[in-house]
Amino acid sequence: MSRTTDDRDLALLRQAIAVSAAAAASGELPFGAVIAARDGTILARATSTEISTGDWTCHAETNAVRDASPRIDRRTLAQATIYASAEPCAMCASAIFYSGIRRIVYGFGETKLRQMLATRAETTGLGFSCREVLAHAAAPMDIHGPCLEAEAAAVQARYWNATSR
């Protein structure tokens, strides 16, 4: 089941990181996700929309799953990969599992993200790695990350270290 990351994976993860930077530039939280089919065809792209909607479940990965699932058949999703600019949280990891997507490639790791947000009580997360959550899933998941962590970290640092926030 496990498939090592290749150049196409890294190119798609770079797209997710670019989406995260675009999200931050548009006033959203700096998170992006891309879902791609087995052949690399992009099926969905999403940013976090928590700020604009006031719906705190609208994380980038969950948004991407909500967008793709009604449009894309389960067989295609079963072969697809979700690329996330930062490690999926417990909610998004679960949402990805429920969508039938079985492969995750992420950029910035949850541990480092938590350290970056440690001074901000309102943004502290649940403290679960996506591997830990999905170890309890009824089907095996293929998880890769952190990948391109310096590139993903730069977007996070630019956002969370900005004095205006």
Binding site: G54, D55, W56, T57, T62, V65, R66, S69, P70, D73, R74, C89, A90, M91, A93, S94, A95, F97, Y98, S99, G100, A121, T124, G125, L126, G127, F128, V133, L134, H136, A137, A138, A139
Partner: protein, 160 residues
Amino acid sequence: MQPDDENFLRQTFALARAARAAGHRPFGAVVADAAGIVAEAGSTQTANGDPTAHAEMNALRRAMAVVPRARLEGATLYASNEPCAMCAAAAFYAGVARIVFGFPEEKLRPLRNRTAAGAGIGLSCRAVLARPARKVEVVGPCLEDEAALLHDGYWSEATA
């Protein structure tokens, strides 16, 4: 449980029965506080639709759309069944103070796992919510015998 808890929990059971009657999975959820029900929903999850549309997720999203966060910080999420990892996390993000649930995850798991489409993530909502500094109080199982009836005869390849 607090005085209104049983009433709100029984409302989630009614929503679960309605969801099942409508062809969805037998789950219901209510977000409520001392002033009454803020939002309620049944599961609308289907294999080809939105897989995140669990009852609790639906109710929390409706609640966030209709009242400010400050009110949710004093509200309770009632669920006919123990919230899954996704919905427990969503409750944390929505800011609710408490979760009160009926049927426990550990007893639903063997029922769900009879079907490939129903097999889920075997984490209790208490485990998901154990680590953050901001605590969500979890109460349950409650009215478990009544909640168990919601699943009677449901989890087979023919229906789930």
